[in-house]
């Protein structure tokens, strides 16, 4: 207990007593002036040092805002991707809707019995320009039937199964079809050559020019006459040739078909 006689203990005891006195004075409200003075004293120092603190805080907030911006940016990128996907889907629906509307317009005024079929896929494995449609013998489709897209002849049925059929497009080299030039009565033979369609065997006397409409002649098979095929492109033959030939530009997007009609005879 000797430590209670030390100078330190005396100061400690005195300061404790002063503390108790200050607590009492605080409770009575008599310490307000001293407290105010004590509160004001460090103010300039706080002002100066908090200036440094604010600078440091700004640096930290800069880094935290960068990380926040990165996160927001990543979220927005994901949203953009999702919206693009959604937009692409809507565009696809819009396209399909337009195609359907065109098909319906054509069907309403068509003089033939038509079977609507969606394109299942293009035959990429075989060395041919063909596609498979979702209509077969079950729907009355048979080999040789004409296939049109929005009223444009695009090919003929080469194989008909129960519920699907294979369509040889006019660009397939095995397709051979009588066709004529609209309004002239001149006929020729239409052949496919992968890259396009050629109308050959046209009489030298025939007057053909670029942009003329090419239609089916309907001379043989099941393909009716008067179906639009396309327009004359480049004239391939010379004046000295025995017969004329020209490229035909199909009026349908042969490589991008989703819905077609099969003409049932």
């Amino acid at each position: 207990m000797r430590f209670i006689y030390t100078k330190q203990f005396v100061i400690f005891a005195v300061l404790l007593a002063v503390s108790a006195l200050l607590m009492f004075l605080h409770s009575t409200g008599d310490l307000r002036a001293i407290e105010s003075a004590a509160a004001e004293t460090p103010r300039p120092f706080i002002y100066v040092i908090s200036g440094f603190g604010k600078g440091a805080e700004n640096i930290f907030s800069y880094f935290s805002s960068v990380s926040l911006l990165n996160k927001t940016n990543a979220d927005l990128k994901n949203q953009v991707i999702a919206l693009r996907e959604e937009n692409a889907l809507l565009e696809q629906y819009k396209l399909e809707n337009n195609v359907l509307k065109q098909e319906l317009d054509y069907r309403s005024g068509a003089p033939f019995k038509l079977v609507l079929a969606s394109v299942v896929g293009y035959d990429t494995a075989a060395n041919s320009d063909a596609m498979v449609i979702a209509a077969g013998m079950g729907q009355g489709v048979s080999t040789g039937d004409a296939v049109v897209a929005q009223g444009v002849l695009i090919g003929e049925i080469s194989e008909a199964d129960a519920y699907t059929s294979k369509v040889l497009l006019l660009t397939d080299p095995s397709v051979k079809l009588e066709a004529g030039i609209s309004g002239t009565g001149d006929n020729g033979i239409l052949r496919g050559d992968y890259s396009g369609i050629t109308l050959g065997m046209i009489s030298q006397a025939a007057q053909i020019s670029k942009g003329q409409e090419v239609i089916s002649a309907g001379l043989s098979g099941k393909i009716p006459s008067g179906l639009l095929i396309g327009t004359i492109g480049d004239i391939k033959s010379n004046k000295s040739d025995l017969l004329q030939s020209a490229t035909v530009l199909s009026s349908a997007e042969l490589s991008n078909l989703s819905l077609v009609d099969v003409i049932i005879k």
Binding site: F3, K7, Q8, F9, I11, F12, L15, L16, V18, S19, A20, L22, M23, H26, S27, L31, E35, A38, A39, T41, P42, F45, I46, V48, I49, S50, F52, G53, K54, E57, F60
Partner: protein
């Protein structure tokens, strides 16, 4: 006089530095560290004055019972000094100092809490908001005190150099 000026500016500086750390909430208690680190100096009673005025300043800005920090800091500093004089023959090494600071910090938390509680129950403190709770914030504050202790210790050494240069 030089001693009073050096301690005064050190206390004000540490308090201002503490105030400039709003982002670090809970923040370290630099004045507590200053008082306790001075209590390690065996033969000087200066730590008591430092503890008293540091506690007073803390109380002025505290939302709790007035005097809680003053009394707590005085008692804790005195206990640290008593332990240093009686249990450590040589100057304590940093690990021991940190352990003592840790224990002192816990003691102060408990004392402040107890004084607030007592004044709320029997005294004039109408609304007792236990600013010093024993929740996660208090433990983070204790951890921060251990981290900031070396910096405050450097300040005490700097103060000693200033005072030696003055004499």
């Amino acid at each position: 006089m030089a001693k009073i000026a050096v301690y005064f500016f050190s206390i004000i500086l540490l308090f201002a530095a503490n105030s400039a750390l709003p982002a670090l909430a809970p923040a370290p208690n630099l004045l507590f560290l200053f008082a306790v680190l001075y209590a390690f100096k065996k033969n000087e009673p200066d730590f008591l004055w430092i503890a008293f005025f540091s506690g007073f300043l803390l109380d002025v800005f505290s939302g709790g019972a007035f005097g809680a920090y003053m009394v707590s800091l005085l008692i804790v500093a005195f206990m640290v000094n008593y332990a240093t004089r009686n249990f450590f023959s040589a100057d304590p090494n940093p690990a021991v100092m940190l352990a003592v600071i840790f224990a002192a910090n816990l003691s102060m938390l408990a004392l402040v809490y107890f004084i607030n509680l007592m004044i709320a129950r029997f005294g004039s403190l109408a609304l007792f908001s236990p600013q010093i709770s024993l929740g996660s914030e208090a433990w983070i504050s204790v951890g921060l005190n251990l981290i900031f202790a070396p910096l405050v210790y450097l300040l005490t050494i700097f103060d000693d150099h200033l005072l030696k240069a003055g004499t």
